[in-house]
Symmetry: C2
Subunit: 179 residues, 2 copies
């Protein structure tokens, strides 16, 4: 998940590490969906190259580049994969937040018949959206703009209902995508 | 993937680390399926808990328990997840090779409508099989035996055709499961 760094955030406002909060909200929701046998969606571990081990302790290792997206799993028999993005902007999600290989992966999953989307948080507004890759691609390829505007997300995305547990009812939005 | 350790294997025969060979064969097959836009199936990274980082170098970390299976992905819109198991036995796959949480996870995916199975290698015989969770469960729950017999696998599983690239045509067997 690519988000503004904690230090930068703390300097500028009091919202703390919104990226980690988003991750924690999604993990909570996935736990709820799993416990209720609605879906199984998992955060992928970051791949790490281990180069030295002493007993059970890893003493030398490196982070490897993640080639896929943040979350993947199964919902209504279908394969689901999505990337979670958080922005402090109140008007748009900058494209620089989304890496090229992430777009390519969204595209691959879409073409194989999977459900691929972005889960977007506007942290200052406390708003969450599901925006399908299909809609992003239509917009992205036609536009020279440097971000996905909030108006576009309001029009083509689905707003996520918030609660206590699950924190984010994001599969309700996926139901709408499937229609 | 749970396999006999390299040292033990090298002492006992000349087959080398069959577990790693199986992994490499599956990775090669997945690469083929991915490049030909047939499926996207990925080996899950082993989760590692990082507790100390110096710059870009991880200097202290621990392996965490894998709660899911070896491989997961998308094929024909469906979610697919499987565990690869290698045995030197020529007559059966010992159940001790399959951990309880792995059975539970196969069960979860099956109940959510996913495709869940074991990919079994009889390394000495150079034979590979796809055995669906559904069949394993029928057998497992009825039997007090300590292994899945090869005869059972021959009867209820599907033998995987071998080639150069892909090494293992295991999705042909999945097609049979889907019928």
């Amino acid at each position: 998940m690519i988000v503004i760094k904690k230090k930068t955030l703390n300097k500028q406002n009091n919202f703390g590490n919104k990226g980690q909060e988003l991750e924690s909200s999604i993990n909570d929701s996935n736990k709820f969906y799993n416990e209720n046998n609605i879906a199984y969606i998992d955060k992928k571990p970051t791949p790490i190259k281990v180069s030295e081990v002493k007993g059970k302790l890893i003493t030398k290792a490196f982070y490897e580049k993640q080639s896929t997206l943040d979350y993947s799993g199964i919902y209504k028999k279908r394969y689901i994969e999505f990337e979670a993005k958080s922005t402090k902007s109140t008007t748009s999600l900058p494209y620089e937040n989304i890496k090229r290989h992430q777009f390519e992966h969204l595209d691959k999953i879409y073409k194989l018949g999977g459900i691929s989307f972005l889960l977007i948080e506007f942290s200052v507004l406390n708003e969450y959206y599901v925006l399908s890759y299909e809609q992003i691609m239509k917009y992205y390829s036609k536009s020279l703009q440097k971000s996905i505007k909030r108006e576009f997300i309001l029009k083509y995305g689905y707003k996520i209902k918030q609660g206590y547990h699950p924190r984010l009812y994001y599969l309700d939005c996926v139901d709408k995508l499937l229609k």
